[in-house]
């Protein structure tokens, strides 16, 4: 029953939400309103529990077993408490805002900006025109990189128009094909979830 009942729930609610779309009756609309505005929104918020558990299990284990770098794990957990208490004590006041604007924002922004350096290094070391297809990829990338910045227009007036054509015609056609393929796959997966064929989202026993 522990395995069957969740599958029955998934089928029931999935099928109900699917056919609801095609039934314009007020009762159907009321059912949709309650499910979306109450049930989905409330249940979704509890999913953050998984992130919490994952974070604390990892770092508490590191600190308990004094694994390499456990001091940093302790710093991470203290940071969580510090931020939480700052928000609760100041009721999300200016100090809390400053912690976000001058600590979280610069840290996250800088970490992601490291990618610029690594993509430059990868461009030099790894991007090789080994065959016709790779050459086509690199040539297109080069044209797009020049055409999408002001220097492209400065070098040749027709460059921006060429890049727009590449983006709106051949590139768009292939992206559309990929999108349709992904869409069909997503619909198939949704059907499998409703029918109980796909169960990986429930985890193991």
């Amino acid at each position: 029953m522990r395995r069957k009942l969740p599958l029955i729930i998934a089928f029931g609610i999935g099928f109900a939400m699917l056919i609801q779309y095609f039934i314009p009756h007020p009762r159907s609309e009321a059912f949709y309103n309650v499910i979306v505005q109450q049930w989905f929104i409330i249940i979704f918020a509890f999913m953050y529990i998984f992130a919490l558990r994952s974070f604390f299990m990892h770092h508490i284990t590191k600190v308990k077993k004094k694994k390499e770098g456990y001091i940093f794990s302790a710093v991470a957990m203290v940071s969580v408490l510090f931020m939480l208490l700052s928000g609760l004590i100041t009721s999300r006041g200016p100090f809390f805002d400053s912690l976000y604007n001058y600590m979280i924002a610069p840290l996250q922004g800088t970490m992601f900006s490291l990618l610029a350096f690594f993509i430059a290094s990868a461009a030099f070391r790894a991007f090789r025109a080994r065959n016709v297809q790779a050459t086509l990829l690199l040539v297109t990338a080069t044209v797009v990189m020049i055409g999408r910045v002001p220097i492209g227009d400065y070098l040749w007036k027709g460059m921006p128009a060429l890049v727009e054509w590449v983006m709106t015609i051949p590139s768009m056609a292939a992206m559309r094909g990929i999108r349709i393929g992904v869409g069909l796959g997503a619909v198939a997966t949704a059907m499998k979830i409703i029918l109980g064929i796909e169960r990986s989202y429930m985890g193991g026993e």
């Binding site: 505005q37 979704f44 910045v149 002001p150 559309r176």
Partner: protein, 291 residues
Amino acid sequence: MGFWQRFLKLDRRWIFLGITVVVIIPLIKPIGLPIKPTKPVIDLFTYIDTLGPESGAVMVVTGFDPSTMPELMPMEQALLRHCLVKGIPVISLGGLYPAYIGMAKMAIDEVTEEFPDKKSGEDYVFLGFIPGVSAVILSIGIDIATTFGNDYYGTPIDSLPMMSSIMNYSDISLVVDVSGTSTPEYWLMYAQERYGVNVGVACTAVSAPAYYAFLQSGQFVGMLGGLKGAAEYEELMTRKGYPTGRRNATIGMDSQSLAHLLIILLIILGNVGYFIVRRGERKQGIIMRKR
């Protein structure tokens, strides 16, 4: 080891230094290359520019966190300025994930400082964050006040003068998702397909290529893609005489140009070196076989 073999083994920290130099120099000494707006940006700009105080609200959704702030914050601020200068009622949605609301607050605080005559609740409304992602998008289509309850500052939405005539998507002319993730697709699926609201997108350069398909089909009314898209929007605002703030996106475009040229040079040199070394190795292989 020959020159090219040594060159291909160049310590990557020299490349890091090169990228840093080409980015910093134009920031200190700008070149001032002109920005030419493209059709997707013009389409979105024109759509908003034709709206006014009586034509329904514009909802600007903050869908990014600090990781994509350099690209998307200039877009969000330009969109908010455009709506405020035109007197369009603007609903700033603090995002579909908790990390986004800080960005929304930063944008709204900075822009509203430039418009001291605009009042929260009368000219603009700043909605907070509610968990649920797609459920929130769907729920806005039913009733905004029931979905959020209060605005970010804790004021009941029912009591806000601007919201007295705005109940759901039928009172909204355009939703613009300023997004660093795939949330624009959710707005298309759940808001546009279900409720028929017009959707525009302001996205990172990573997402832009995939969204041209939705642009061509007419599902998006317009698109700002990457820092260049933000710079183009700032250019259009300048041409119309609207306030543009510091034009951070435009300032960055000179650095962008030089950095791209450096990366292209690295790709070319890497490939030249690769082919020369490979040819040399093949020749050595022939000489070894002959011996």
